[in-house]
C-alpha cells in the first residue's frame, strides 16, 4: 500500500513537474488503466497506461507536405511500395503540391503506417499505442469516462456508419474532448503504433488462438465489452490493415513520452 502511495505521489510529481514543458501543440493525458476489448488467459485484463503527450490535432496536409519536402524519399512518386501502397497520397495534385481541391488544414489521409511512423520520428515523436489512443479517445467533452455515456457512443456509431466524405473538413471541426484533444472521433480513423497487436493486450500475439479476423459471432468471443460497438469497429478496422496500406479516411496524430 505504501509502495503504491509513493508511486502515485511520484507520478503526480512527475506530471506536475512536466506541465510547463508540454509543447503547445500537444496535450498531457494522465493515463490510467485501460481494459482492452480483447484479452486472453495469459495476459492481464488491464493495461497500465503511463502519462503521455498527444497531439491536439491530427496531422494535416500542410504538416505532411513539409515532411515530404524535408524527406523526399517519402514523396508520392518515389515511395517504396513495400512501405506504402499505390493509393499513397493519391488525392494530392503532385509530389509537392496538395492541390486547390484539398484543404491544407484537413487531416492528411492515404498515408501508410510506415509513412506515419517516419513523420513522427522526424518530429521527434512517435505514434500512440492502441491503449494510449483508446484511453485518450474514451473521453467525451465533459468527462474521461465518455464511453459510459450512451449518447456519446451513439454519436461515434453514427459517424462510423456513414461512408467517407470526399472532402474532409479541417482539423478541429468536430469536438474538443475532456483533455483538450480535438476530433478523436468523427473526422478520420487514426494509426496506432501497435495496431497489428490489436486483439491482445500485451506485446505479443498471444497463443490461445484468438481470431485476428473477428468474423461473425466469433467477434464477441473473448471480448470484455461486447456492447461497445464502436470499439469493435475500430478493432475490426485495425485488424484489416497492413502497415503499407493507405485508405481515404485513415490518418494519424503523434504522441510523445514525458521526458
Amino acid at each position: 500500500m505504501l509502495k503504491l502511495l509513493i508511486m502515485l505521489t511520484f507520478t503526480a510529481l512527475t506530471v506536475f513537474g512536466q506541465k510547463n514543458t508540454v509543447p503547445k501543440e500537444m496535450i498531457l493525458v494522465n493515463g490510467g488503466i485501460y481494459t482492452p476489448l480483447y484479452v486472453n488467459d495469459t495476459t492481464s485484463q488491464n493495461v497500465e497506461v503511463k502519462p503521455f503527450l498527444l497531439d491536439k490535432y491530427a496531422v494535416t496536409n500542410r504538416d505532411f507536405l513539409e515532411f515530404v519536402k524535408a524527406v523526399p524519399k517519402w514523396k508520392r512518386s518515389s515511395v517504396n511500395k513495400l512501405f506504402a501502397d499505390e493509393n499513397y497520397l493519391s488525392f494530392w495534385k503532385a509530389d509537392f503540391e496538395i492541390g486547390e481541391n484539398v484543404n491544407p488544414n484537413a487531416p492528411v489521409v492515404n498515408v501508410s503506417w510506415f509513412a506515419a511512423k517516419a513523420y513522427a520520428e522526424w518530429k521527434g515523436k512517435r505514434l500512440p499505442t492502441v491503449a494510449e489512443w483508446e484511453i485518450a479517445a474514451q473521453a467525451d467533452s465533459k468527462s474521461k469516462e465518455g464511453y459510459m455515456n450512451q449518447e456519446f457512443v451513439n454519436l461515434i456509431l453514427k459517424w462510423y456508419s456513414v461512408p467517407s466524405s470526399k472532402n474532409l473538413p479541417e482539423v478541429g471541426s468536430t469536438y474538443k474532448n475532456y483533455y483538450g484533444l480535438y476530433d478523436m472521433h468523427g473526422l478520420i480513423w487514426e494509426w496506432t503504433s501497435d495496431f497489428f497487436n490489436a486483439l491482445v493486450s500485451g506485446e505479443s500475439r498471444g497463443d490461445n488462438g484468438i481470431n485476428r479476423n473477428l468474423f461473425c459471432g466469433n467477434g464477441s468471443v473473448g471480448a470484455t465489452d461486447y456492447k461497445n460497438y464502436p470499439a469493435f469497429m475500430r478493432f475490426a478496422l485495425r485488424s484489416s490493415l497492413k502497415a503499407n496500406y493507405t485508405t481515404a479516411n485513415l490518418g494519424f496524430r503523434c504522441a510523445r513520452d514525458i521526458k
Binding site: V162, F232, M233
Partner: protein, 512 residues
C-alpha cells in the same frame, strides 16, 4: 525469437498443405472453362447455368456504403454488396470452382468481408475476404453442396453489418439442374432498426438499442418498403409456373413467408435440394436461411407476398405483390357473385335480444343457441347508454339532409373531402359535378352501392382510380345521395329508400 520460429513452422505447414491440396484437386481433371458470373439485383435472377459440366466461375463483387431510400421520405445508410440491398444474386453449379473477388470501395468507412453459407471452410470465406477500404481480396472455393444459400458480411460487430444491409443469395444448382419454370424471382426479407419509428421522415440512423431488443421498425422485402408494389410488382401470367428464391437476411427475425391467394405447390424447405413438402400455405424462413417455393398461377389478379407474422406486413412494410394478367377462370375463383342482407343464423331463432345478448329462441332450440358465459360478463351499461343515445339521435333525426351530411362526413369525406371538392388528380369532386348531373339516379346509386373502377371524366379532368362499394343501408344511401344532390349540386333531385330498394332488387336479379 521463439515466436518467429513458431510462425515459420506454421507458415511452412500451411504452405505444404496448400501445395498438397492443389495437387489432389487438379489430378486427373481437365482445365476448367472460365466463366464470369452474371450477377443480378433483386427481384431478378440470373438465367440457369445451362451447363452439364463444371467451370471455373469468376465472381466480382463490390462493397459500397451509400445513403438510400428505406421508405418514402425515409433515408438510411446502407452497406451493400453491389450497390443495393439485398446483394447481387449469384448463380453457379454444383462442382464449380469459384474465384471470388471482393472489392471494398475506397469511400467505405469500414473493412468488410463475405461469409457465403455455400462455402465449405472456416468462416465461409470471411477470413480470406476481410478487406479494408480501397482494397480487394481474392479467394477460391469449390461448390461442394447444391442448394440456395445466404451470404453476408461477417465483420465485427457482425449484427451491425447485417442490419445495414449486407446479405444476399447464392444458388448452387444441383448437377442435374432445376426443373424448368416460366418465371424466377429473388425475394429477400430483412429488418431495419432506426432511431425514428416507422415512417418518420428524414435521415434515420441505426438504433443499437432496438437491434439488441430485436424490435425493428421496418421489416421489408428487397431492401425497402414498397420495393415490389405498383409498377415494381412482380409480373406473371395465368397458366405460368413461378419459382421464388426466398432469403431471410435477418438479422434477427424468422419469417412466416406466405403469398395471399396462392398455395405453394412445392417447397424446398430451408433452401435444400429436395421438395420436402407439397401444398404449403406458409413456409418458415430462418434468419440466415432460405427457401424455394414453386406454384402454378391459375387465375389473374394481385397476389400479395407477406410475412404472415402479420403485424410486420401491416405495420412494418413486409409486403410485395405479384401482378397476374390473363383470363378469369370462374370455376376456380368466381369473385363476389352476390351480396345480400343477413339477419341472423336461423330465422326460427329470431332476433338477438339486446338486453340479454341472446337469441329470442324457442325452448327446444335452446341447446343450439350460443351463450355468453355467466361469469366474465363485462359491464356494458356505460357503452350501451351512449349507443342508445346515438341511436335515438339517428332515429329522431327527421331531417334527411342533416342525416345525409352525417353519413357523408363519416363515409365519403375521407376521399372526396369535407367540402366535396375532392383531391386534384386523385379523387374527383362531388360538389358541382358534371358527372353526377349527366348520370341518372340509378347510375349514381350504383356508383355508391356497387363501386366504381377505371377511368372517368369529371368537370373536364380524367380520374383513374377505384371507389370500393360502400356498405350503407337503404336509409343511409338515400339520405347521403339526397344531401349530395341538393346541397352540393344545387339539384332538385332526391333519392328515397324505395328507389334504393328497387335498385338493389334489380341488381340481385341480374347478379344471379
Amino acid at each position: 525469437m521463439k515466436k518467429y520460429i513458431n510462425q515459420l513452422v506454421i507458415i511452412s505447414f500451411a504452405a505444404s498443405f496448400i501445395f498438397f491440396s492443389s495437387c489432389t484437386e487438379h489430378e486427373g481433371e481437365e482445365k476448367l472453362p472460365v466463366i464470369h458470373a452474371k450477377l443480378t439485383h433483386a427481384p431478378n435472377v440470373p438465367p440457369p447455368t445451362g451447363r452439364d459440366y463444371p467451370a471455373k466461375v469468376v465472381v466480382d463483387m463490390e462493397v459500397v456504403e451509400l445513403v438510400g431510400k428505406l421508405a418514402d421520405g425515409v433515408e438510411y445508410t446502407f452497406w451493400t454488396f453491389g450497390g443495393k440491398v439485398p446483394g447481387e444474386f449469384i448463380r453457379i453449379r454444383e462442382g464449380d470452382e469459384v474465384e471470388f473477388h471482393l472489392h471494398n470501395h475506397p469511400s467505405s468507412k469500414l473493412p468488410h468481408n463475405i461469409d457465403l453459407h455455400a462455402v465449405t471452410g472456416p468462416g465461409g470465406g470471411a477470413e480470406a475476404s476481410f478487406t479494408t477500404p480501397g482494397h480487394s481480396s481474392t479467394f477460391n472455393f469449390k461448390a461442394l453442396n447444391p442448394g440456395l444459400y445466404v451470404y453476408h458480411c461477417a465483420t465485427a460487430p457482425v449484427g451491425l453489418h447485417i442490419a445495414n444491409g449486407m446479405y444476399g443469395l447464392i444458388l448452387v444448382e444441383p448437377k442435374e439442374g432445376l426443373s424448368k419454370v416460366d418465371r424466377e424471382y429473388y425475394v429477400m426479407q430483412s429488418e431495419f432498426y432506426t432511431e425514428g419509428s416507422y415512417g418518420e421522415e428524414g435521415y434515420q440512423p441505426f438504433s443499437m438499442e432496438k437491434a439488441l431488443d430485436e424490435n425493428p421498425d421496418y421489416v421489408v422485402f428487397n431492401g425497402s418498403v414498397g420495393s415490389m408494389v405498383g409498377d415494381k410488382a412482380l409480373k406473371a401470367g395465368v397458366g405460368e409456373t413461378v419459382r421464388l428464391y426466398i432469403g431471410n437476411g435477418g438479422p434477427n427475425l424468422v419469417s412466416s413467408f406466405h403469398v395471399i391467394g396462392e398455395i405453394f405447390d412445392h417447397v424446398y424447405t430451408e433452401g435444400g435440394t429436395a421438395v420436402k413438402q407439397k401444398n404449403v400455405q406458409t413456409t418458415l424462413v430462418p434468419a440466415g436461411g432460405s427457401a424455394i417455393v414453386e406454384f402454378k398461377i391459375d387465375v389473374p389478379g394481385e397476389f400479395i407476398l407477406v410475412d404472415h407474422s402479420i403485424f410486420r406486413a401491416f405495420n412494418k412494410g413486409a409486403i410485395g405483390k405479384i401482378a397476374v394478367g390473363g383470363n378469369e377462370n370462374e370455376s376456380i375463383y368466381s369473385g363476389k357473385v352476390k351480396e345480400e342482407v343477413y339477419t341472423g343464423k336461423k330465422e326460427s331463432l329470431g332476433a338477438i335480444n339486446p338486453s340479454t345478448g341472446r337469441y329470442n329462441s324457442n325452448a327446444e332450440e335452446e341447446k343450439y343457441v350460443p351463450q355468453f358465459a355467466e361469469s366474465n360478463q363485462v359491464d356494458y351499461s356505460e357503452l350501451s347508454k351512449s349507443a342508445q343515445a346515438s341511436r335515438k339521435k339517428e332515429e329522431g333525426n327527421t331531417d334527411i339532409l342533416s342525416f345525409g351530411k352525417q353519413v357523408y362526413t363519416t363515409t365519403c369525406s375521407a376521399c372526396h373531402q369535407a367540402d366535396g371538392n375532392g383531391l386534384p388528380n386523385v379523387f374527383p369532386p362531388i360538389k358541382n359535378s358534371d358527372w353526377i348531373a349527366k348520370k341518372n339516379k340509378e347510375e349514381v346509386i350504383d356508383a355508391v352501392a356497387g363501386g366504381l373502377n377505371g377511368k372517368i371524366t369529371v368537370n373536364g379532368k380524367s380520374y383513374n382510380n377505384i371507389m370500393p362499394p360502400q356498405n350503407l343501408n337503404d336509409k343511409q344511401l338515400a339520405a347521403v345521395l339526397t344531401y349530395v344532390y341538393k346541397e352540393m349540386n344545387k339539384s332538385s333531385k332526391t333519392v328515397s329508400e324505395e328507389e334504393v330498394k328497387k335498385y338493389r332488387n334489380s341488381k340481385s336479379i341480374t347478379g344471379n
